[in-house]
Symmetry: C2
Subunit: 426 residues, 2 copies
């Protein structure tokens, strides 16, 4: 049996995603397609434009059989943590193949580099350290360190190292590293990305990037959105917007984060993951600025990318302690959270039910029962970490829904009230 796995955010699902999905299915010819998707907060350090269940249902309509939620402790991490959470989730669900888009579309280059990343030979580590010390951002320092390391050893690779700096190649590298790390048998496939680049925010018609589409939504340019996303996604967006549950934009949270960050002392930051190398002091000092963009610009250096700073902003809010994130990256997700599935997905789930190594959460309010059963089955999970990861997912939804425009939606936005979506074939 072939099970295709995809790592997605679908924020929102656009024509490029549909194209990628079709191509992936052509390559793998799967019996079932599983997507692990960021929940209400995405990897670039932002809220998702609409909440996770609406995005999950749409993904089912558009060809995915099962949508799992990537726990927020992973979805709000850098490429490394993000990939660790995603790959281990897909592995637990029995995925046999994953397909990811990358700028290069070529697996051999990424494979060679990912070996270096996992092995971390002494010389590479030394070079990485020295480039970081020079003030380069982590992605750049890593690129230079790999270039230094392979130069002389592998002439072809050394010429092509520049390519690994683009965002989807970085993610691809991390998927490959994460697969190797757990000795997974998952077969990776890379395909060349179609259409606009990830961070391109220009309207490129029917192949606009998610960034460009979010900009259209921010500006209220509904016609352009209609042109750039599949019909099902467009219907969902309209429905959610009309119901007062979106679009939730990063700038909507500005009014919260300015006062919030001012309340955090330099000392407080030491509890939270990632506030290293003086970032605690920079956050304190810069929070005195007058708006969020000025805050971000003030914290930013060559060393720290804007996405990283945006993600970090959420860590004190969602209580991403050093201990929680380090254990999460070491031990992986402690549960599989099901958001939506169709008939085909349901059949596959009932098939693997007995052999699966992680507890599956259908309905969050039943978490205690799920945990007890997992213990009875002697699954290898850490009970505390299970609770802490799930608590952050609940917290993320409570926080997110407090930004809905209508008070009624805000009070109904709790994850505890949610139910998994089963889309019967119609």
């Amino acid at each position: 049996m072939k099970i295709l796995g995809l790592v997605v955010e679908y924020n929102p699902f656009h024509n490029g995603h549909l194209f990628h999905l079709k191509e992936s299915k052509e390559i793998v010819n799967p019996d079932c397609t599983v997507a692990v998707m960021s929940g209400n907060f995405v990897q670039r350090g932002e809220p998702s434009i609409i909440e996770k269940f609406a995005r999950a249902r749409t993904a089912i309509m558009l060809g995915i059989d099962i949508v799992l939620e990537l726990p927020v402790v992973y979805s709000l991490q850098d490429a490394g943590g993000f990939a660790t959470g995603a790959i281990r989730t897909l592995e637990a669900l029995g995925v046999t193949d994953i397909v990811f888009g990358s700028e290069t579309g070529e697996l051999s280059l990424l494979n060679e580099v990912s070996k270096i990343l996992l092995a971390e030979p002494e010389e590479y580590r030394h070079r990485l350290h020295s480039h970081l010390k020079d003030g380069h951002s982590f992605p750049n320092a890593r690129k230079y360190a790999i270039r230094d390391y392979v130069s002389g050893k592998d002439r072809e690779l050394s010429f092509r190292v520049e390519e690994i700096g683009s965002s989807n190649n970085i993610l691809g590298l991390e998927y490959l590293r994460a697969i190797r790390e757990i000795d997974s048998k998952i077969r990776p496939h890379a395909i060349k990305r179609k259409g606009a680049a990830y961070s391109d925010d220009e309207n490129r018609g029917s192949f606009s990037s998610a960034t460009a589409i979010r900009k259209m939504l921010r500006l209220g340019d509904i016609e352009s959105v209609k042109n750039a996303v599949p019909g099902e996604m467009f219907k969902t967006l309209l429905k959610e917007i009309r119901a007062g549950r979106g679009p939730i934009l990063a700038c909507d949270m500005e009014s919260f984060f300015l006062p919030f960050l001012r309340l955090i002392s330099r000392n407080d930051y030491s509890d939270f993951y990632g506030f290293v190398e003086g970032l605690d002091a920079r956050f304190c000092e810069c929070s005195k600025r007058g708006d969020l963009q000025t805050f971000l610009d003030c914290v930013k250096t060559k060393r720290f990318t804007l996405s990283r700073i945006r993600r970090l902003m959420y860590y004190p809010a969602l209580k991403f302690t050093v201990d929680l994130i380090e254990r999460s990256n070491r031990l992986g997700p402690q549960y599989i959270r099901l958001l939506a599935f169709n008939e085909n997905g349901r059949e596959y789930l009932s098939e693997i039910k007995k052999s699966i190594g992680l507890p599956i959460i259908n309905t969050v309010s039943m978490w205690r029962k799920v945990l007890d059963e997992a213990k009875k089955k002697e699954m290898k999970i850490d009970e505390n970490l299970f609770k802490e990861q799930l608590e952050r997912d609940l917290l993320a939804v409570d926080f997110y829904s407090s930004f809905y425009s209508s008070p009624e939606n805000r009070s109904k936005g709790s994850d505890m009230l949610s139910r998994v979506i089963y889309e019967r074939d119609s």
Copy 2:
């Protein structure tokens, strides 16, 4: 020499305040008049309508010689903590007489009751405990306990106990208790309040209450405000509003507190003062509601007044830990923070400079020097508590100013950049 002390909020300074000030001066005939004033957060658990320096300058224009800031760890407490901070500040500054408004205007009644409050005889304590257990709010339980205690002992008093339940009488009682508590020689005087009751929010023309005037400001009814406050106060209000520094309204903070309170777990609350008798659980549960008013109504019981819940909301934000507030109530303020003075005030300050028992902070940025000098003079202060109280005052200003309408004001709103106001006679 006679030094008149007043405990004020001036939020804003209205005609009733001016009347009270004149009457007080007639009673005491002072050489100097000192007001201790709440800073940017007031006792009813709200931000002040405009920031403290603008209110302090206006108070000087209208007849006060020296304005001191009541540290926020006291200004956001119940009547007991508020009075403790205020009376100890006035005592430290050498005040000889205080005058306070009260519904009764009669000192003897309040004096008799305040003796009971300080002595806390066994029978009274027992009665208080039992009324609290029946679910009454603290002010009511106390009133009933006093009634029970004096009945049979003091017939006249027992008939009049009902009067001590009104808000200004409660404050008056606490002033008297705080004066006795430190064996102060301050002479208290009570005068009958003129005009509208404290919580009356109706427009009563030129004698409208501060609550009513804040409502006019919220509704933008500038003409009514003009009629209800002295000319100087009106000019200040207009200036601050035009500059984008006000009016700051409780409802402006709603957008912050809804997401903020959702991020606090029941466990977190145990660090903070006042979350007793299940209030932690109530806060957690009720923060899932859709707006702040619904939240407040949800937390409220017969036992907990709305003002108390409003104040408590600020405790996790401003880090009012159990330890900080308990030590503050025991040891009192560790510094005197000067906001504004005139020529007469300056002369008095230079006179008492040598005998004063608490360090005076003119300019916050010089706090380290002030602390060092206090230690050299062997003043009886607790260095840690000094820092912690001052840190909360700074935090309160940073938090407050993040709600200014213009980003430029927000970035200039730091207390560290402020200077004491010296109004020379013109």
